[in-house]
């Protein structure tokens, strides 16, 4: 692994994730309710946000 090209090639491999569970929600099903804390200390409740309009949930990990 002295050649930096190997490191670059190896780093490309970690962009594929091994899935161990997948969610059961499908398009058309009722969105599961939740309340979660935000970074400013506020608790965000999905139902409150949906009452104001459509919601996009983005699930992220680090800078992915």
């Amino acid at each position: 692994m002295r050649n930096p090209l190997y490191a670059i090639a190896a780093s490309g491999c970690v962009t594929s994730l091994h899935i161990v569970s997948t969610a059961t929600v499908t398009v058309g099903s009722v969105a599961p309710p939740f309340s979660l804390p935000a970074q400013d200390g506020r608790t965000v409740t999905l139902a409150d946000e949906v009452a104001r309009g459509p919601v996009a949930l983005v699930f992220y990990r680090g800078y992915w």
Partner: protein, 241 residues
């Protein structure tokens, strides 16, 4: 349209992440992974699968995309097209209301200095102001304003009306403010001034302000004083709803 980003990170980690990237939408902490499991799924490294879920006004899932490979993630232009197609959001703000600094009330404390032209002579002076500005849409603010200046009466009771042009995604604005009012300690005293300024929100709760002001105080029929000043200040931002 509300954007909510969800990860397993603790709120304090999300706070520094948001500060690093200048993020203003909510970063929600799903510490036990229950919401991530329900909506997205988990990978072997005990983190949520990255993905996007769109929920319509009826509370039902309108779209979902879960990526196990980085290149499978939906791009921003694709997501905008999907939102348009599924929930019809064209023309609506992408940020949730209440997170943009321009939607917030500002309570300002300003300190500065300048010069007053009084009876033909110029004098240096300190100035201070406390005001509350309520947003009426993105471009107009209005609210009470109190000005202090040691060469004048103790305090002016004023009303401020501001026009502003937000930039940097609503985190900052250039602002022109007209302030007028009277001095209750002098029956004939009144004041009128104009200010050109800029403010920049450093967090959802605080902004820095800088203003240049020119104004006139009239304390009697002949006693007119012209004042020029510059002020630096802080504004505490309050969510109105």
């Amino acid at each position: 349209m509300t954007l909510l980003a969800i990860s397993l990170d603790a709120p304090e980690d999300s706070r520094s992440f948001a500060a690093d990237l200048g993020i203003w939408f909510p970063l929600l902490s799903d510490a036990d992974g229950a919401v991530s499991r329900a909506y997205a799924g988990m990978s072997s490294d005990a983190a949520a699968l990255p993905g996007v879920t769109v929920i319509g006004r009826d509370g039902r899932i309108a779209y979902r995309n879960i990526a196990s490979v980085k290149d499978d993630r939906v791009s921003t232009p694709e997501l905008l097209a999907i939102l348009d197609r599924t929930v019809g959001t064209t023309g609506e703000a992408a940020a949730p209301s209440g997170y943009a600094a321009v939607d917030r009330m500002q309570v300002r404390l300003e300190l500065g200095g300048g010069a007053i032209r009084d009876s033909g002579a110029n004098h240096g002076t300190g100035v201070a102001a406390v005001g509350a500005l309520f947003p009426l849409g993105h471009h107009v603010l209005v609210g009470p304003w109190l000005s202090f200046e040691p060469r004048q009466a103790p305090v002016d009771l004023d009303l401020a009306v501001a026009l502003r042009q937000p930039f940097a995604g609503g985190l900052a604005a250039v602002q022109l403010t007209a302030i007028g009012g009277y001095t209750p300690w002098d029956a004939t005293g009144w004041t009128a001034s104009g200010r050109a300024g800029i403010w920049f929100a450093m967090s959802p709760h605080w902004a820095f302000t800088f203003d240049l002001a020119a104004g006139e105080h009239r304390l009697g029929d002949a006693d007119s004083r012209l004042e020029l000043s510059a002020t630096l200040g802080v504004a505490r931002l309050f969510r109105l709803r």
